[in-house]
């Protein structure tokens, strides 16, 4: 009896194995054929379906965040950044579900952001947004967190010109994609305000902010949110150890300020 059973398993296993061998050999052959003669099949690709939903999700508030390390949250112990705390604050205030899409990239300059905005997925998300928050310009001015190397007015003016023209394009693009969402552009603070030369650096940052705010004023529903004052007096308490990015406390300050602005807008919508 046992021998019969053994024989039976043996046959089954053998047949299955032989069939499997054939199958795998076929797969291997197909791989070779597919990978080494791929040249002719190039054009198959572009049957892109435009099924991507760009409709706003009802019931949820979508915050679309873009920009540089500040939006990303560099320096925050929890890694949330002001966008994270902003979401938390808003959640306390409303029953609406809040959806945060953060596409910020550390070290992003206005030029990089403009390029990022050409990507179709970023555009799709921008279209979906109810609120747009962004930070940009810090890397244009401060050279990736290094101190202001060059306090020379001409050099800074040059940078500013490029920055302003980029920001204009960014605003235009965002407005084109999404005419309704309010854009909150969080402004710059001076991380060097407790250092020598602080008079000069502060005036540079103030001027930079002023010009940005002017630009923002040229568009509908773009709010340039000042942060300069938040960091003016106790800058060392609100900065991360790199002496450039805000720490958790600093981010909370920024979040509070933005949150208070968003609240009003929502009440308007609800009434």
């Amino acid at each position: 009896m046992k021998a019969v059973l053994k024989k039976y398993t043996l046959t089954v296993v053998s047949i299955v194995s032989i069939a499997a061998t054939v199958l795998w050999l076929f797969g291997l052959g197909w791989t070779l054929q597919d990978q080494f003669s791929a040249n002719k099949k190039v054009s198959q690709l572009k049957e892109k379906t435009e099924s991507t939903s760009t409709e706003k999700q009802g019931g949820t508030l979508t915050i679309f965040a873009l920009g540089d390390s500040l939006t990303r949250g560099t320096g925050d112990a929890d890694g949330k950044g002001y966008t994270g705390y902003l979401t938390e604050r808003l959640k306390e205030k409303t029953d609406q579900e809040i959806n945060l899409l953060n596409t910020a990239i550390k070290g992003e300059t206005s030029r990089g952001l403009l390029k990022q905005l050409q990507q179709s997925e970023i555009q799709r998300q921008a279209k979906q947004a109810d609120v747009i928050v962004m930070t940009i310009g810090g890397n244009d001015l401060f050279q990736q967190g290094a101190a202001l190397e060059n306090l020379d007015n001409n050099a800074i003016n040059g940078k500013k010109q490029i920055y302003i023209s980029n920001v204009k394009k960014i605003y235009t693009q965002l407005r084109e994609l999404n005419p309704e969402a309010v854009i909150y552009h969080v402004g710059l603070y001076n991380p060097f305000s407790n250092m020598p030369d602080s008079k000069t650096t502060s005036s540079i940052v103030r001027n930079w902010n002023f010009q940005s705010a002017e630009t923002a004023a040229g568009f509908d529903n773009i709010v340039y949110v000042p942060t300069f004052d938040l960091f003016q007096l106790q800058v060392e308490n609100y900065l991360y150890t790199d002496q450039f990015h805000p720490n958790t406390e600093g981010y909370k300050l920024i979040a509070e300020r933005v949150a208070s602005l968003i609240k009003f807008e929502q009440e308007e919508n609800e009434s």
């Binding site: 053994k6 032989i18 291997l28 791989t31 080494f36 099949k41 198959q44 690709l45 991507t52 596409t103």
Partner: protein, 326 residues
């Protein structure tokens, strides 16, 4: 000849090794399924119930952020860059490479087990195929029959081939069957991209084309089978050369693990690409991952493996026919 192979298959089944291997796989698959399931759940929780595009975009920005850090290793940077452009490409073509489903799980599972787990399982079967006969003394009985030596060895080799096919098949069946309970059994027709070529840290996409997932999986399993056969042949050779099964296992184990380690650190030692163990990750070429060493390609890796395999095969047969048995 058929009877000889039958005889060898019977011996294999008697040893119950195949069952042990199936048990191992049946134990591991639920483990990975659970891990994968947790990951998906975690992602859902973090991101809300979102479109996969948003998730993928998030991943892309995360990668971009990591790339912008200056304290990143060159190799890792290259890997991330290639991954990044690939994800971007998937996104642009509106294809979700990770839509959950049993076939997707199968694909990810074999891609991750081709270079270590599956070769190890093969090794368990093959290591004592010949050496146990010499250490147990049964080899004399075997060779007293009026059959040419090479035929005996060939019958063993064919038995090995069959059992490798069987192992690969059980991996396929078990991973599909078990993970499907959680992820569902659909998704065979999902489109996937293949044909990426990597040059330096650029990802070339001119040969990229779409294949349905079932074809993709079949192709990957073909490669898995090929890799297992080569590892099997080499183990087989060692099994002929050495009397002690433990030594066979030790050598194979060491070289396989060395391969896994080397693949992570050899990028500047170019001639290391001629080792068989650095070339085991064939599925990476289909999915378009960075190669451990510059200048490796599917054709290259398959030829290197073939050379090792053929050499092993010849050494095994020559030694076995010439050797004195006492």
């Amino acid at each position: 000849m058929i009877n000889l192979v039958r005889n060898e298959m019977l011996k294999l089944l008697r040893k119950k090794r195949l069952y042990v291997i199936i048990l191992i796989i049946a134990f591991l698959v639920p483990l990975f399924t659970y891990a994968q399931f947790k990951e998906i759940q975690d992602q859902r929780e973090k991101m809300g119930n979102q479109d996969w595009r948003t998730t993928l975009q998030q991943e892309i920005t995360d990668t971009q952020n990591r790339l912008s850090s200056s304290r990143i290793q060159d190799e890792w940077r290259k890997f991330l860059k290639i991954r990044l452009s690939q994800q971007q490409y998937y996104l642009e073509n509106d294809i979700d490479p990770r839509a959950p489903g049993a076939p997707t799980f199968m694909r990810i599972f074999v891609e991750n087990s081709i270079d270590l787990l599956l070769p190890l399982l093969v090794m368990v079967i093959v290591a004592d195929l010949v050496s146990s006969e010499s250490s147990g003394g049964t080899i004399k009985l075997l060779l007293t029959r009026p059959v040419k030596r090479w035929r005996i060895l060939l019958s063993k080799y064919l038995a090995m081939l069959l059992s490798i096919s069987f192992i690969v098949l059980s991996v396929a069946v078990l991973s599909y069957g078990i993970s499907g309970v959680v992820f569902g059994y659909g998704g065979w027709n999902m489109p996937l991209l293949t044909g990426f070529t990597v040059s330096g840290d650029e990802l070339l996409t001119e040969n990229v084309h779409i294949v349905p997932q079932w074809q993709y999986i079949l192709m990957e399993f073909g490669l898995v089978w090929y890799v297992c056969m080569i590892v099997g042949t080499l183990t087989f050779m060692l099994s002929v050369l050495l009397r002690s099964t433990a030594a066979v296992m030790g050598i194979m184990l060491a070289s396989l693990i060395a391969g896994a380690i080397l693949a992570n650190m050899v990028s500047s030692w170019e001639s290391a690409k001629y080792f068989f163990m650095v070339n085991l990750n064939l599925t990476n070429y289909v999915s378009g991952m960075a190669t451990p060493i510059e200048g490796m390609s599917l054709g290259f890796s398959m030829s290197v493996l073939a050379v090792w395999g053929i050499a092993g095969f010849i050494v095994a047969f020559v030694t076995f026919s010439k050797r004195d048995i006492y």
